[in-house]
C-alpha cells in the first residue's frame, strides 16, 4: 500500500498539480482523459476491482489514501476516480454471481483505456426521481436524474431507481449511456470540482435489459447502502486531501508573508488558526482511515462509520479552507494562488452524498 501511495504522490505532483488551476478555468477534457489514461497505466483505476477479475484488489483504506493524495493536488481529478471507485463498489456489493460480466465491462472495453463509470444516487428531491416500470414485458426507465459526477465522461451509469412509491421499491440498474444514446441535461455549473462537470442524465423510457439489473428491492437496498457508505468514506478522504493542501499552502504563506511588523507566522492568532487547522486535519484523517478499515477490525458496534467521517471531514475541510484563504488575505481570493479553488472544491465535496445535516437526522 505504501508503494501505491508513493507512486500516486509522484504522479499527482507531476501530472496533476501543475495543470490543475488551468483546468479549473477551461475544463480541459483532453487533459483529464490523459490523466485517466496514465492513472490506468499505473494501476490506480483498477484499485477496487479484485485481482481475480483483473484489478489491483486493494482495500478501502488504500483507495481512500490514493484519493486523498490526488485531491491534495486537484479535487476535481480525485472526484473522477472517486465516482469510478464507487461504481466498482456497486458491482462488488451486488454479490458473487453477477461480478464477472460487469467487471469485464469496466476493465476491458476492447480499447486500451477502460471506460469511466459512475453512480446515480437517488435524490430526496421529487423532481429528480427515476422510475422503472414494466410495459409489454419491457422494463422502461424514465425521469431526470439528480446531478451526477463524471456524467459528461462516463459510459456506464449504475443507477438506483424506484419501481414504486415506497423507499423499499428500489432497483439497481446499469445504463450504458454511450451505446443507448442517452442525453445529458445542462451542466450544473457547480462552483468547484470544475474539471468534472456535474449534470443530470435524461432518461426517456430507456429500456433496461434484465441482465443489466444488479439487484431489486431488498437486495438493491443493501447494494445501495454499501455503495453510499463507500461514497461517504471516499468523499471524506478527498476532503482531507484538499484540506491538507490548503493547510500546507497557508503555512508556507504565513512563513513568507510580512505584515504587522513581522512574518505573520509569528502572530499568535495566525498560529492559533494554523494549529486549529492541523488539529482538524489530523482528527479527520484518522477518522476516515479508521472508518474505511472498520470491516477489517471485525467490530460490529461502536466502530467509526463512514457517514460520520464524511460529515466531520467535509465540515472540517471547509473550515480549514476558509481559514487558509483568510491567512492568504487578498491573494487568497485570487485565482492564481489556488487556495480559493480549494475552498470551492471543498464546498462541493461537502454536499456530495447525503448533506451533513441530513446525515445527522437520518442517523437517529
Amino acid at each position: 500500500m505504501k508503494e501505491i501511495i508513493g507512486v500516486c504522490r509522484k504522479f499527482a505532483s507531476r501530472k496533476v498539480g501543475p495543470y490543475a488551476l488551468e483546468a479549473d478555468l477551461n475544463g480541459d477534457r483532453e487533459w483529464l482523459l490523459s490523466v485517466w489514461q496514465e492513472s490506468n497505466d499505473l494501476g490506480i483505476v483498477g484499485l477496487v476491482i479484485p485481482e481475480e477479475f483483473g484489478g489491483v484488489g486493494q482495500n478501502d483504506s488504500c483507495c481512500g489514501l490514493v484519493l486523498d493524495t490526488l485531491s491534495s493536488e486537484c479535487s476535481g481529478v480525485a472526484s473522477l476516480l472517486l465516482h469510478h471507485y464507487v461504481a466498482c463498489k456497486t458491482v462488488l456489493a451486488g454479490g458473487e454471481p453477477g461480478l464477472s460480466p460487469f467487471f469485464k465491462m469496466l476493465l476491458n472495453d476492447g480499447g486500451h483505456m477502460p471506460p469511466i463509470a459512475t453512480v446515480i444516487f437517488p435524490s430526496d428531491m421529487d423532481e429528480r426521481r427515476l422510475v422503472l416500470r414494466e410495459e409489454k414485458g419491457k422494463l422502461l426507465l424514465r425521469g431526470k436524474s439528480p446531478l451526477t459526477g463524471n456524467a459528461t465522461l462516463a459510459r456506464y451509469f449504475f443507477a438506483f431507481v424506484y419501481e414504486g412509491s415506497e423507499e423499499q421499491d428500489m432497483t439497481c440498474v446499469l445504463i450504458d449511456r454511450q451505446s443507448q444514446g442517452i442525453p445529458l441535461g445542462e451542466e450544473a455549473g457547480l462552483p468547484g470540482l470544475k474539471v468534472n462537470p456535474f449534470a443530470p442524465v435524461i432518461l426517456e423510457d430507456v429500456e433496461i435489459s434484465p441482465d443489466r439489473i444488479i439487484g431489486r428491492r431488498r437486495e438493491a437496498k443493501a447494494v445501495y447502502e454499501q455503495t453510499l457508505d463507500a461514497y461517504h468514506g471516499f468523499i471524506a478522504a478527498c476532503a482531507m486531501g484538499a484540506a491538507r493542501a490548503a493547510y500546507s499552502r497557508a503555512l508556507q504563506y504565513a512563513i513568507d508573508r510580512y505584515q504587522f511588523g513581522s512574518m505573520i507566522i509569528h502572530h499568535q492568532e495566525i498560529q492559533r488558526m494554523l494549529g486549529t487547522m492541523l488539529a482538524k486535519l489530523s482528527v479527520g484523517t484518522s477518522s476516515y482511515i479508521a472508518s474505511l478499515e472498520r470491516e477489517e477490525w471485525g467490530m460490529p458496534h461502536g466502530t467509526p462509520k463512514n457517514r460520520f467521517s464524511k460529515a466531520f471531514c467535509t465540515d472540517a475541510a471547509l473550515e480549514i479552507a476558509i481559514d487558509a484563504v483568510q491567512i492568504h488575505g487578498g491573494y487568497g481570493y485570487m485565482h492564481d494562488y489556488g487556495v480559493e479553488k480549494i475552498l470551492r472544491d471543498v464546498k462541493v465535496l461537502q454536499l456530495l452524498g447525503e448533506s451533513n445535516p441530513v446525515i445527522s437526522i437520518k442517523t437517529i
Binding site: 428531491m125 421529487d126 439528480p146 471547509l318 462541493v348 456530495l352
Partner: protein
C-alpha cells in the same frame, strides 16, 4: 430566476423598513422627513434591485468570469438613469440627497440582488468620498458638478481609492501597522509637486477609473510619518493599469493592479501632505468599514432569500423542503442573526448622519447655502474660483474639523470595524449554510446561492482583514482604557 416567485424580501409587496428596524418608528415621530425619505429610498432601491440588478446578476458573473475586464455598460446606464450613481449628491444639485441611512438602505437591497454589480457602481462612492472628506469647497463642488454632468449625459466617471500594496495590505490602514509597513511605492519631491513611482494592488475599479486617490509615502523607511494622499487623474502620463485580477467572487466588480512610472502630481493635487495620509485613510475607513458590514449583511440576506425561494418551490419526499422542521429552525436562526446585525448597521448609518461627515450637510451655513443659492451658481466656475481663496478654504476646513474630530473618526472606525466583522462573518456563515439546506441540486449556478458563497469570502478580507478589524476593536474599546 424563474424560481423567484414568493413574495418575500426583494419581492415583498410592501416596504418593511420600519418593521425591520422598529426603533425608527420612534425616530419618525421626531424626524418625519428623515425617516420618511429612508422609507422612500427603500421602495426605490428594492425596485431597482429587483428589476434591473437581479435579472442580470448571473449573466454578468459568468461573463466577468470569462473576461475579468468585462463591463455591462448598458446595465450601468440603466442604473444611472435612476440617479442611483449620484444618490449621495444633494437633491438641489441634481442628486437624490441621500443621508447615510438612505445609503445603507439602498445598499442592503442592491447587494441582496448582486454583490458584484453593487460593488461595481457602489464602490465609486468610496473614491468620491475621498474628495468629500477633504472638504475643500472648490474640489467638492467641482467633483459634484462633474458627477452630475456625467449622470445627465449617461457617461460614467469612475473614482478609485488605492491604498493596498503587494507587500502591505492591512498595514496601510492602521497606525501601529503602518509604522512597520514595507512600502514599495514612493513619492519624490520635485519643484512644484511630487513624482510617484511603484505599484499598487487590488484597487477596486482601478481599471475603470478616471480619477484616482492614492496614498503613497515620501520616505519608505518611515511610512507612518511621510504617508501622503495624492489626487491623480488616470490620463496622467506614467500611469497605467496592470492586470485585472481573476477573483473567486464579486466578479462584476473589477480589481486591478496600478502602475506608477514617474507620475507627476502638482502641489495643488496633494490632498494631504506627508504625515497626514493615514488620517485621510482613517477617515474614509471610519465610513467604509461600516458599509462593508452592511455589504456582508446584504450577501447573507441574498443567500437566505434565495434559499427560501428554493425550499418553498421544491418538493422532497412529497412535501416542500421548507416544511422540514430542521430547515425551519436553520432559517429562523439565520434570520435572527440578520436581524441583529441589521439593527447595528442602521444604528451606525444614523451615527454617520449625526456625528460624521454627513452631518456637515445639516450644518447651518451649508444648509442655508444649499437652500438659497441657485444651483447654477453653486456648480459654476465663479464660485469655485472664489472658494480657492486660502482664507475661505481654511474656514470651511475648520468647520469640518469641528464636526469630524479625530476622536469621532476613531470612534466610528471602531464601530465600523465591529460591524464589518459581524456582517461579513455572517455572510460567510449564511451563504455556506444555505447550501447545506438546498444540497447539491440547489448549488447549481442557476439558483445563485453558490455565487453568494463565492462573493462572501472576499468581504472577510478587504477593507482590513477581519483579524485586523478585531484588533481595532480591542485597541479602541479595551486596550486604550487599560493603557495597553
Amino acid at each position: 430566476m424563474e424560481y423567484f416567485t414568493k413574495p418575500i424580501g426583494l419581492l415583498a409587496p410592501v416596504p418593511d423598513l420600519l418593521r425591520n428596524a422598529p426603533s425608527l418608528i420612534k425616530m419618525k415621530e421626531r424626524f418625519p422627513r428623515y425617516i420618511g425619505r429612508a422609507e422612500k429610498t427603500q421602495v426605490f432601491s428594492r425596485r431597482l434591485a429587483r428589476e434591473i440588478i437581479l435579472p442580470k446578476a448571473l449573466e454578468v458573473d459568468t461573463r466577468s468570469h470569462r473576461d475579468p475586464g468585462y463591463v455591462d455598460w448598458e446595465l450601468w446606464r440603466q442604473i444611472n438613469r435612476t440617479k442611483a450613481t449620484i444618490g449621495y449628491i444633494p437633491e438641489k444639485l441634481g442628486g437624490l440627497g441621500w443621508s447615510g441611512l438612505d445609503a445603507f438602505v439602498f445598499l442592503e437591497e442592491c447587494i441582496t440582488a448582486c454583490t458584484g454589480i453593487s460593488a461595481f457602481f457602489g464602490f465609486n462612492f468610496f473614491g468620491v468620498l475621498c474628495a468629500f472628506v477633504e472638504f475643500r469647497p472648490d474640489v467638492c463642488l467641482k467633483v459634484i458638478g462633474e458627477m452630475v454632468e456625467a449622470q445627465r449625459n449617461d457617461k460614467p466617471i469612475f473614482w478609485a481609492w488605492s491604498i493596498t500594496e503587494a507587500s502591505a495590505g492591512t498595514d496601510a490602514e492602521d497606525a501601529r501597522a503602518m509604522a512597520t509597513m514595507k512600502c514599495s511605492a514612493y513619492a519624490r519631491k520635485l519643484p512644484g509637486g511630487y513624482s510617484i513611482n511603484g505599484t499598487k494592488q487590488f484597487c477596486s475599479n482601478g481599471s475603470l477609473a478616471d480619477y484616482l486617490v492614492v496614498t503613497v509615502c515620501t520616505d519608505r523607511s518611515d511610512p507612518l510619518h511621510t504617508m501622503a494622499t495624492f489626487f491623480v487623474p488616470a490620463r496622467t502620463e506614467g500611469f497605467s493599469v496592470g492586470r485585472i485580477e481573476r477573483k473567486c467572487g464579486q466578479k462584476a466588480s473589477q480589481t486591478a493592479e496600478l502602475h506608477f512610472d514617474n507620475v507627476f502630481v502638482p502641489d495643488e493635487n496633494v490632498w494631504e501632505p506627508p504625515g497626514r495620509g493615514l488620517r485621510h485613510t482613517r477617515e474614509i475607513l471610519s465610513v467604509t468599514r461600516g458599509i462593508i458590514g452592511m455589504l456582508g449583511l446584504g450577501i447573507a440576506r441574498g443567500a437566505l432569500e434565495r434559499c427560501i425561494q428554493f425550499a418553498s418551490s421544491k418538493k422532497v419526499r412529497g412535501h416542500y423542503l421548507i416544511e422540514e422542521n430542521w430547515v425551519q429552525i436553520a432559517m429562523a436562526d439565520m434570520l435572527k442573526d440578520i436581524m441583529v446585525v441589521r439593527a447595528k448597521c442602521y444604528d451606525f448609518a444614523i451615527a454617520l448622519d449625526t456625528i460624521h461627515v454627513l452631518r456637515l450637510l445639516e450644518n447651518l451655513p451649508v444648509k442655508a447655502a444649499l437652500k438659497m443659492v441657485p444651483k447654477a451658481f453653486i456648480l459654476g466656475e465663479s464660485l469655485q474660483g472664489l472658494l480657492k481663496s486660502p482664507a475661505l478654504a481654511r474656514s470651511v476646513k475648520g468647520l469640518k474639523d469641528w464636526i469630524v474630530t479625530d476622536e469621532r473618526v476613531e470612534y466610528c472606525a471602531c464601530q465600523g470595524s465591529a460591524i464589518k466583522v459581524a456582517g461579513t462573518d455572517l455572510a460567510m456563515e449564511v451563504s455556506s449554510r444555505v447550501l447545506d439546506i438546498v444540497g447539491i441540486e440547489g448549488m447549481s449556478s442557476c439558483y445563485g446561492m453558490e455565487k453568494t458563497f463565492r462573493d462572501a469570502k472576499g468581504a472577510q478580507i478587504y477593507e482590513g482583514t477581519n483579524q485586523a478589524n478585531r484588533l481595532e476593536v480591542f485597541h479602541q474599546e479595551i486596550g486604550r482604557g487599560l493603557g495597553l
